[in-house]
Amino acid sequence: MRTDYLLLALVVGASVWAFRTMPFRFDMSRLSPEGWLSRLLSATGPAAITALFVVSVMPLLGGGQAVPFWAGTLSVIGIWFWRRSVVLATLTGALVYGLAFAI
């Protein structure tokens, strides 16, 4: 395994582990929900995922795949509101995208 890849995996893996386990060790409820730090922390996740979603769909929209894109996107939204499952919405979106691509 290349050293820089291993280093990246260890840094990111350690941070993911810390973010998942820290709230059980430290009482995060002591942070005021209206404080700037709480607002910054709660906004970072949605901001990051929005940025990632936008960047991942820009090549699809510019690459002449509008029909599969909209079919897949609407499927994800529909399944999410129906079943509230990230995995099911993701898999259905990919399946519908593939089918629309084939047609």
Binding site: V12, F19, T50, T73, V86, L88
Partner: protein
Amino acid sequence: MNEQSARFSHGLVAALPVALGYFPIAFSFGVAASRAGFSVLEATGFSLIIYSGAAQFLAIALIAGGAPLLVSAFTLVAMGLRHLAYGPALMAAAGQTRIKRAWIWAFGLTDEVFGAALGEMARGRRFSEAFMFGLGLASYASWVIGTLIGALAGGGALAAFPAVEAGLGFMLPALFLALLLSILSRAQMPVIAVAAVVTILVTLAVSATSGILAGMLAGALAGAVRRRA
């Protein structure tokens, strides 16, 4: 079978839908990593060590795009911040604050494991750490094995099946969109709008990596400065 073993087994069973769903996503990560030049060990190592689908897919995109290591690490660490919300939500649903072994099992507290645990408790299951161990372990195993098989299949595995390849290519945007919907709230709408606009503008003007960083920072700052409505 003692009580702890029974709870652990219940966790393994409850993980079945998550594990079945994780497998194809992990397989597609293995294929994508292989296509980006990762060895089987590197692809599987990412799943073993990081165990966060969105972060792993982004990591290979950043590496393939030539992003500097520090920029990649910063971006990936920042997007993991959403996990901070899961512990308090789980403890509130469980009705307890004394949890002893979270430092082990909470490593497996992914978006979907968190959702599955909350769903089980909503259906009347009592919270136990043994149950969480079972739930997390089966999901983790599926993720790692799916990655290994995808990486062994290799980047060209789906070349003869363009529709399957296209569908797997949409897996990442679909995952991000589903994650976004799962954390969507009225209060975060300005954050999402600011992040989206800044990401588009900076991506078009500079690069995708800069767009992600700028969008993320702008959205987070928009959240920090917003006032109560």
